[in-house]
């Protein structure tokens, strides 16, 4: 017993002060991409050609980057001859509408708004989620799991991942939704009582990600269910997921 107390003392207090303070991220972290379309030569398609998932499109002289398909591999930025495209260290990228993820280089980023006031009253100060991995590679899963460790301590915000869908207010889905998980995902969804909030975490869950076009998968959960929150990334950083959840419950605006 004394050993456990001493160990606790030496490990120290480790819970991050997020959202008040953001811990330093790696200098090489690739967050929200930024681009200056005015620097793009009219017929240049280098970035879209470098993208492995077709997240970048160029039409009528305009560049569009879909964060919902982006793997954040940075190959576009490395290839761009004009240095028009860079990855910032902004980790806050969750949105409420799918088209909010399509960047065109103009206007502010549409950060996720809170759930409707009626819904928030119903949920009170708690949000219980059932997670379903539907073809996820265990990276999104791991970085969702980590939110329950002492570093992030998700429960202090009233958010908790629960075992039974009957105890849940909503669903957090990872993975492109494989055909072989379609039935299990839908049954889990149906077992969750209303309001049944749906969150798509990671490029796969949003659009199929790198597996889009495979006949073994559906192109993300949006093909089957209405989605309330989109968290981009491959996988999203735990802070990106946490920021999204906190915005959804109105804890961060």
């Amino acid at each position: 017993m004394i050993g456990a107390l001493l160990a606790r003392l030496s490990q120290g207090y480790r819970t991050l002060k997020y959202p008040e303070e953001t811990p330093p991220l790696s200098g090489r972290y690739r967050g929200l991409p930024q681009f200056d379309g005015t620097r793009c030569p009219a017929d240049c398609t280098v970035c879209s050609g470098a993208c492995p998932t077709g997240a970048i499109t160029r039409s009528e002289g305009k560049t569009r980057l879909d964060l919902g398909t982006c793997l954040f591999c940075g190959q576009c930025a490395a290839a761009c001859p004009e240095h028009a495209l860079t990855f910032s260290r902004e980790h806050r990228m969750a949105v409420r509408q799918r088209d909010g993820l399509v960047l065109d280089g103009a206007g502010p980023f549409p950060h996720a708004a809170a759930l409707e006031p009626g819904l928030r009253r119903l949920l009170g100060r708690s949000l219980r989620l059932r997670e379903v991995s539907a073809g996820g590679c265990n990276a999104c899963e791991a970085d969702t799991n980590v939110l329950s460790t002492i570093s992030y301590d998700l429960a202090r915000f009233g958010i908790q991942f629960v075992a039974s869908p009957r105890h849940a207010d909503g669903l957090l889905v990872t993975g492109p939704v494989t055909r072989n998980m379609e039935t299990a995902l839908m049954k889990t969804y149906e077992a969750i009582p209303e309001p049944n909030v749906v969150i798509a975490a990671g490029a796969c869950a949003i659009s199929g990600g790198m597996f889009s076009g495979h006949d073994e998968v559906v192109r993300g959960v949006g093909e089957l269910l209405p989605v309330d929150l989109f968290v981009p990334g491959c996988p999203p950083h735990p802070l990106t997921i946490l920021d999204g959840l906190l915005r959804l419950i109105g804890r961060v605006r």
Partner: protein
């Protein structure tokens, strides 16, 4: 070298296909069965398109040579199954049946593995029509009959945030008589998209094949392609890859020991390790920007070199994290109540380990010295060896103990590399096309165990067949057998002590 009974091959050294003898089915079967029985192991067994049919390749690992023996045979649409005389072939043969529609006659339990359609239209091992639906786990299960026997079905959706799989227990009271594991829910169709015209997504597929083993599978791909394109890799790049691979092992072993602690209700180490695992992933992020090492490796070397400043930061973080990790593990291993739950739970014998061909932590916990870094080294491990960690008892305790030992060894290895990193370039771009009509076996000791990528090129140098064997493929059966005679309530603990990959298996 071509002998009458097989071609000799080594890790990451290509073999021309003409050197691999195509044996008669009877001879092929005889050789595989005999060599596996003589303390050998089936590293891989797979079909590859050949003319209008499919050719079978068997990669046999022999304990003494440090290499492999590769054999081939043409089975037609059916052939006499190896499984009745070679248990290790069981899931390989089910896979061959499912992928190519070739029937291994006499296979004692011929069921689909991943529940997808055959890759050869018109060839289905179960005679299913093209319109017939294929539903996961909708199949026969092994059943024990009796008045007091009951069946427990778990999954695909489990209680925690974990990947999906289905477990079917045959129980008598609390005791498990048999466990059957049915997977395939995570099947994304990666393997067949690694062939033909090189996809711009190929490195991403490999890194997401099992997303917790991005470095392991990524490295197996890089090594294989470098061997086929004869691309030299600098010593510095090899060292950085070694750092990446061992960091991946550290993070996962730390996470696993924390989870084992949580599964027996010992919360201090469970909470400490949850944080420490994240800190280890963050060291990888420091180097390449991604916590799982995505984008760090590329054929020819590494995409992210380490600056002197980064080396210092990584070293500092490693020192601090390993100090805390040692403290957390000390506490765990000094708690008699924890040890009482770990010891003699889910034990496997060395004989069973040998028969099933287990790999990685699970094998080393059965006193079997099986480790690619040691037996068949490639890359940095050819020059710097990591001592082998084994434990003789085969139980949950042994699997925990092996992880603890490996944490110590990997930390030491990383520290040395960070302190003495060689000068040189970080990446050489592969200039040549892959050699034509060749086979290369690329092996990496991932944190779970042996990762095997077998790559076959066609006459045009393009990849004609890419066969992935994740360590989980060998080890799921080990978990099933470890449960026999155990209490069903010990399943989470046993399962965590193996911690196998679902998507790495499902591909």
């Amino acid at each position: 070298m071509n002998t009458a009974c097989g071609a000799q091959a080594f890790n990451c050294i290509p073999v021309h296909l003409s050197e691999i003898p195509v044996l008669s089915l009877a001879l092929f079967r005889e050789h595989v069965v005999r060599r596996v029985a003589e303390n050998g192991r089936l590293v891989s067994l797979f079909g590859s398109p050949c003319g209008s049919g499919v050719r079978l390749y068997a990669v046999l690992g022999t304990a003494d040579s440090g290499g492999f023996t590769v054999l081939a045979a043409d089975p037609g649409d059916r052939y006499p199954a190896l499984t009745p005389d070679c248990a290790q072939a069981s899931w390989f043969e089910r896979e061959i049946a499912e992928q190519w529609g070739i029937r291994p006659d006499g296979h004692p339990w011929l069921k689909p593995l991943r529940f997808h359609r055959s890759w050869r239209a018109g060839h289905d091992a179960w005679g299913r029509g093209p319109g017939e639906p294929i539903e996961p786990s909708v199949t026969e299960f092994y059943r024990v009959e009796g008045e007091e026997v009951h069946e427990v079905a778990v999954g695909p959706v489990h209680a925690g945030i974990i990947e999906p799989g289905h477990f079917r227990f045959q129980c008598h009271g609390e005791n498990v008589m048999h466990l059957e594991i049915s997977l395939g829910y995570q099947h994304r169709g990666i393997e067949r998209r690694l062939t033909g015209e090189p996809s711009p997504r190929i490195m991403h597929y490999l890194e997401a094949l099992a997303g917790d083993t991005s470095i392991g599978h990524g490295l197996a791909y890089c090594q294989g392609m470098e061997a086929l394109t004869r691309t030299p890799v600098s010593f510095r790049a090899e060292e950085i890859r070694g750092i990446a691979l061992e960091l991946e092992r550290l993070a996962n072993h730390a996470g696993d020991l924390g989870a084992l602690s949580g599964d027996v209700g010992y919360l201090p180490t469970a909470s400490f390790c949850g944080r420490l695992r994240g800190d280890l992933l963050n060291i990888t992020a420091l180097a390449c920007g991604n916590r799982f090492g995505r984008g760090w490796l590329r054929p020819g070397g590494v995409a992210w070199d380490l600056t002197p400043d980064l080396l210092g930061q990584m070293l500092d973080r490693l020192d601090r994290t390993s100090r805390d990790l040692n403290g957390a593990l000390e506490l765990l291993f000094n708690s008699p109540s924890v040890m009482a739950r770990f010891e003699e739970t889910g034990a496997l014998t060395p004989a069973l380990c040998q028969e099933l061909g287990l790999v990685g932590v699970a094998a080393r916990a059965c006193n079997v010295g099986r480790d690619v870094r040691f037996e068949r080294p490639a890359g940095i491990y050819r020059f710097v060896s990591i001592p082998l960690t084994t434990w003789p008892t085969g139980d949950v305790f042994a699997r925990a103990q092996v992880r603890r030992g490996e944490i110590r060894q990997s930390t030491h290895f990383i520290r040395q590399r960070l302190e003495e990193l060689s000068e040189g370039s970080a990446c050489t771009a592969p200039a040549r096309r892959p050699v034509a009509d060749s086979l290369v076996i690329s092996l990496v000791e991932g944190w779970r165990g042996e990762i095997c990528h077998a790559i076959i090129t066609g006459a045009d140098g393009r990849i004609a067949r890419y066969k992935v064997v994740d360590p989980s493929f060998h080890n799921w059966m080990g978990l099933a057998l470890a449960l026999r005679g155990q209490q069903i309530s010990d399943f989470p603990l046993c399962n965590k002590s193996f911690n196998l990959s679902y998507c790495g298996f499902d591909l």
